[in-house]
């Protein structure tokens, strides 16, 4: 009701502006969908007419039927669930551990100085290289994948959060001190809320990274999961299975990303 009243009061110029804004939005959405549909259409057409070999390039219809086949064989859900579960656990644990490490390192400047070179080295190390070791340490399968996931996300989480904590305006800290705030109060009332936009960015990055970790882990050693399915499909030369798995992976990763992104709208200026 209130909203309606407001629109009536808008000036002509404002109405035009709002109309244009809405039109632009619809146009963008239209093209986003159009490009997707055109891409699928051309892909299908090329596959059907033999311009590309559907054995190597698959086609939208073959991907759909493969997914349906896999679903019928009843184990697709296990693969999806395994990957999703590993990713979520890895994502949550890595974010939590990284965050706690950042707090500890913020708290003690001495620890921060001591661990700085270690963080840099660990960050630049390609974590996948640790793959074989992980299998020796925790065994193959789900736990190895989760560990891989954590290793890939945790260091960058620590570094990003620590930077966000440290980059807080020094004068703001002095202001808190001039009010006689203790370190705990400074952290919870200033440092932490000040770092929330950065935390949201880290969450978004970690969504992507934890999927990398999961697929890497599953390539290395696994009996289930989308990474396993991709590996399996390529070994028995059924590239439709590979493409179908990649499609599902896309959908899952995008879904997780969209779950996180409303946070960004809320907390980023």
């Amino acid at each position: 009701m209130l909203k309606k009243e407001k629109t009536i009061n808008y000036s002509k110029a404002r109405q035009n502006y709002l109309k244009r804004l809405k039109k632009d939005k619809i146009l963008v959405l239209f093209w986003q969908i159009a490009i997707f549909v055109i891409f699928l259409g051309i892909w299908q057409l090329f596959a059907d007419t033999g311009v590309v070999d559907p054995f190597f390039f698959s086609s939208p219809s073959r991907i759909v039927s493969t997914i349906l086949d896999l679903a019928h064989q009843n184990n697709l859900w296990i693969h999806i669930w395994t990957s999703l579960y590993e990713t979520l656990i890895g994502f949550i644990l890595a974010t939590l551990i990284g965050f706690l490490l950042a707090i500890i390192l913020w708290w003690s400047e001495k620890l921060r100085k001591i661990f700085e070179p270690y963080l840099i080295i660990l960050n630049s190390l390609p974590k996948i290289a640790l793959g074989p070791m992980i299998i020796f340490w925790v065994g193959s399968g789900t736990s190895a994948t989760i560990v891989m996931c954590i290793l890939i996300c945790v260091i960058i989480t620590t570094i990003s959060m620590l930077n966000a904590f440290i980059s807080c305006d020094h004068d703001k800290i002095l202001l808190m001190k001039s009010m006689h705030a203790n370190k705990m109060q400074i952290f919870f009332k200033l440092i932490l809320p000040n770092a929330i936009p950065e935390f949201v960015s880290v969450l978004k990055i970690n969504v992507g990274m934890s999927w990398v970790g999961t697929i890497m882990g599953e390539y290395l050693s696994s009996k289930a999961g989308l990474g396993y399915l991709i590996n399996y499909g390529s070994q028995i030369l059924k590239l439709d299975i590979v493409m179908a798995s990649i499609t599902l992976l896309c959908i899952l990763a995008a879904g997780m990303y969209f779950l996180v992104s409303p946070l960004e709208k809320r907390y980023k200026k």
Binding site: D169, D171, K172, L174, L175, M176, K177, S178, M179, H180, A181, Q185, K189, L190, P193, N194, I196, K269
Partner: protein, 251 residues
């Protein structure tokens, strides 16, 4: 009137990896209760250091600082500090910003303090913005909020470190008037640091002129300009005389 703040032969050295920086050299001065005093001096001479020492954020290397005839303590709640920038927390509403200090000192359930906060907001035309976020306010309003945030802690002495220098000239004159009025009507003692000689003259009862680093007191001026507000005081015929005197002292 009695002395509220007194520096007695205070020295301060900053320790850095490269060297020891002597910021203050045996500095002595005092300010009287309910006076509005200003510190002026060349850039980098140690003005902020004096305020930090007073606020207990730094401890003097030598000498003694007394507030109301007692040595100042580390966590002295008799002192309020207002910085150059308002440092309002963007994620808090105006009201939440104002009671930040009360929260920190666990006084945010004290109805008397909360009432004071409400009254100050009302009195200085900010009550309607109580639930707004700082970014919705103008620079001058933000500076007033910052002042109220300091005032609700009911400090005996207010320290102001170039609180107007981030504002444009027009706003600055207006905010000077506002802040002056608030401080005078709340009967606070204030110590202002400023680069702006006219600002110091128009607001102060007393001006302490410092030399370049390491700072010592070069001269102290007691002013008595007619007018109730800084803007009116700028009209006084002695204004120019004081200006020239300080100007020459700083060169």
């Amino acid at each position: 009137m009695k002395k509220l703040l007194e520096f007695k032969d205070v020295s301060y050295f900053y320790q850095t990896k490269e060297s020891e920086v002597k910021a203050l050299d045996n500095i002595s001065f005092f300010i009287k209760e309910k006076d509005f005093s200003s510190l002026v001096g060349p850039s980098g001479c140690g003005k902020t250091t004096i305020l930090s020492l007073t606020a207990g954020l730094l401890v003097p290397s030598n000498g003694e600082i007394k507030l109301d005839n007692q040595p100042i303590a580390q966590n002295d709640s008799r002192i309020g500090y207002m910085f150059q920038r308002d440092h309002l927390f963007e994620w808090r509403t105006i009201w939440q910003n104002i009671i930040l200090g009360l929260e920190v000192q666990k006084k945010h359930k004290d109805t008397q303090k909360l009432e004071l906060a409400e009254n100050l907001l009302k009195k200085y035309d900010l009550y309607n913005f109580k639930n707004k976020k700082p970014r919705q306010l103008s620079g001058g309003m933000r500076q007033r909020v910052a002042l109220i945030r300091t005032l609700v802690l009911e400090p005996a002495l207010l320290l102001l470190d170039e609180p107007f220098s981030a504002l444009d000239f027009q706003t600055r004159l207006k905010v000077c008037d506002d802040v002056y009025e608030i401080i005078k009507s709340e009967q606070k003692t204030a110590l202002l640091v400023t680069h702006d000689i006219s600002e110091a003259i128009s607001m102060s009862d007393k001006i302490v002129i410092l030399t370049k680093r390491p700072a010592i007191v070069k001269e102290t001026l007691e002013l008595n300009l007619s007018g109730n507000t800084p803007l009116q005081k700028r009209e006084d015929k002695d204004f120019g005389k004081y200006f020239e005197k300080i100007w020459r002292n700083l060169c």
